[in-house]
């Protein structure tokens, strides 16, 4: 009993302490909040050039919180480098938080979002692990006037303002399928799809696009190609992916082609082919993954190409778009967006179009998918050299 009383006493002390400090803070934080409010009102009402002409509060930095699906993999490192470059160029304070691959969860992403709301950031940029888990939290953020922009992987449409998409899903699916068609021209065979996990919204969209393109030309161009009846989910860490693909290829020795459509699936497929001593050219691999990891396999001829975009530019565009959206330079209903990437180099001689397309459902499209070959693989930006995007 005595123990408990002392505990209660300590608890009361804590609460008293908290209350007193909070009372002290209250007077300071109130005007600051007002300032933020009037600021955002100003941004809504006045055109951009007028704002630039009135540098009354230059210290008020725009603050954004950005969440990847997970950290520590080359793809998201490139995104991070791009996003940080944009933040530097625009004078934005960027808070990048996420968990290492294998430790990530929707609950943790939700906790980051909640923290960003607590800190009163101007925008929350999230690459979602699944489209539904924290939709309500994102809606709360929107209700508080925080701009919610998804990038890389979308959530349900009413929970975000915009989705910065790396490429239109149809374009990616068609590119992959037609590459497969070209490589298997004449001989045909059975092909399988290896994805990451069943809840990954973009992977699912690409699978659908691949299947749509196949079904459209089933009786003509792809008449000799058949699909393995299941989709293989290789997970979000390399060891699991290696196991899953090795199992697939051991059980199905007659596979003529594999769509490896996650950054883990590409190296896993290449590894399985090497381990099982598949002769080069016997399995057509259409990878959608980070080109750097496929470089050696392209050299050996195991893979002819890898399809991706520039994750560095995706990170850059997301931050820049969010910045301009906060400033009111782009708004809902716009059909195009001109960024500092527009018209610049995408890969080697290929350039981005003059403006990014904005679809009617609020998707901002980075550009067309890129087919990386052995000649162009070094044009990948942001990894392993963080500054390679500056060139």
């Amino acid at each position: 009993m005595k123990q408990r009383l002392s505990k209660v006493f300590v608890m009361v002390m804590v609460l008293a302490l908290i209350a007193s400090v909070f009372a002290g803070c209250g007077s300071q934080s109130a005007p600051a909040q007002n300032a933020v409010q009037s600021d955002s009102k100003a941004a809504d009402q006045k055109p951009a050039d007028q704002q630039a002409a009135k540098p009354a509060q230059p210290e008020k930095k725009i603050r954004m919180g950005m969440i990847p699906k997970f950290t520590g993999v080359d793809y998201f490192i490139a995104c991070e480098n791009g996003a940080k470059k944009a933040a530097k160029d625009l004078g934005v304070e960027l808070d990048w938080q996420g968990d290492p691959s294998g430790q990530e969860s929707a609950a943790k992403q939700q906790a980051y979002i909640q923290t960003f709301i607590d800190k009163g950031y101007d925008a929350i940029l999230v690459s979602a692990l699944d489209p539904k888990s924290y939709a309500d939290t994102l809606k709360q953020a929107k209700a508080k006037g925080i701009k919610v922009i998804t990038w890389d992987a979308d959530v349900q449409q009413d929970a975000r303002d915009f989705f910065v998409n790396q490429s239109e899903n149809e374009a990616l699916g068609t590119t992959l399928m037609s590459n497969m068609g070209k490589e298997l021209a004449g001989k045909g065979g059975k092909v399988a799809i290896v994805s990451s996990d069943p809840n990954a919204s973009n992977q699912n969209a690409w699978i659908k696009a691949i299947q749509d393109d196949y079904n459209a030309k089933k009786s003509s161009d792809y008449s000799k190609i058949t699909f393995y009846d299941k989709i293989i989910y290789a997970g979000n860490n390399q060891a699991d992916a290696d196991k899953a693909v090795a199992a697939l290829m051991t059980q199905n020795t007659d596979l003529a082609g594999i769509f490896a459509i996650s950054s883990m699936a590409v190296p896993a497929t290449a590894k399985a082919c090497t381990d099982l001593k598949k002769p080069i050219g016997s399995v057509a691999i259409q990878g959608l993954g980070v080109p750097v990891t496929a470089k050696d396999n392209m050299k050996s001829g195991l893979m002819k190409s890898v399809v991706l975009w520039q994750p560095y530019d995706l990170g850059y565009l997301t931050v820049e778009f969010a910045y301009k959206y906060i400033k009111g330079e782009v708004k809902a209903g716009d059909t195009s967006f001109k960024s500092s990437l527009s018209g610049k180099t995408q890969l080697k001689d290929v350039k981005y179009e003059d403006a990014h397309k904005i679809t009617s459902d609020g998707q901002v499209i980075l550009g067309k998918p890129i087919v990386y070959t052995i000649d162009t693989v070094d044009g990948f930006k942001g990894y392993p050299d963080p500054d390679s995007g500056l060139k």
Partner: protein, 327 residues
Amino acid sequence: MEKRVEVSKKPKFTVTYQKILVVLLIGLIALFALLEEGIILKPSVLFGLTENVVEVGLMALALTFIITTGGIDLSVGSTMALSAVILGWTYETTNNIALAIVLCILTGLACGALNGLIIAKTKIAPLVTTLATMSLYYGIAKIISGTKIFSTYPEGFKFLAFRRLFNIIPYQFVLFVVVFVLFAVFFYRSNIGRYLRSIGYREKAAKFMGVGVESVKFGIYTLTGLVCSIASIIYLSRLPAAKPDIGLNLNLEAITAVVLGGTSIMGGIGSVTGTFIAVLVLGVLRKGMQLIRLGGDVYNFILGIILVICLISFSYLDSMEKKRSGG
């Protein structure tokens, strides 16, 4: 220093250690308040952060019982995930939320009972048993859900997560406190607490003293299963998407909370109050690290360090204890 004092005067230790934890808790709050403009002191933030630890906290309370007996349950996360998937699946197919909740709770009970049955009736170590059932429950959840996420729930289901008592305290935290009080009464005021400690201290001696070791063990693992299913309901009210991987890594977090709370992983010493405070410490730590922009890798790193330090100090204390009683 404090720990050395403990060895000589055992009854005072738990009190001292829990006080240290409370001081740690206040210290962390003060530290993060200083580092990040007092944001953590806003009632909405301070109480809001409990939302993220309630599921782990509930599991940790139940695990305190198990770890006090010298056992362990690694399957808590998978049990929660399977219960959640069953709830989501049942509601989606029958549209009957009451039935879904009942089945969810029965699932948790069944998972826990299976663990308890194997551990009480065979001599297979709890670590191995629950490692196996962890994969088993995860596998079942995966088979049921396939490629689907179950994400349709009635509006009222969000009650726990999005309403707050007096507009400040999340209801799930209120529930957590209630469960804590119940567990504390069992642990400190009934024979059960003594049984648990005696089993953990020396199982054979407990048996000779007439403690029904098998039924106690069966009971606590089943109870843990039940608690996991309650945790799954809380999880779904906050994050309405049931999928098999929602429980991954939760076992480690829960065990960390128990051990940080002053329960010895060797068994025999346990503290439900300690676990409760430790859960809050971990919640504040996690929130604070996020506020100072170090939420991901650094938080995980610190969690690992805490666990290692606790384990080493307990094994040290345990060897001291053995030396004393042996010599």
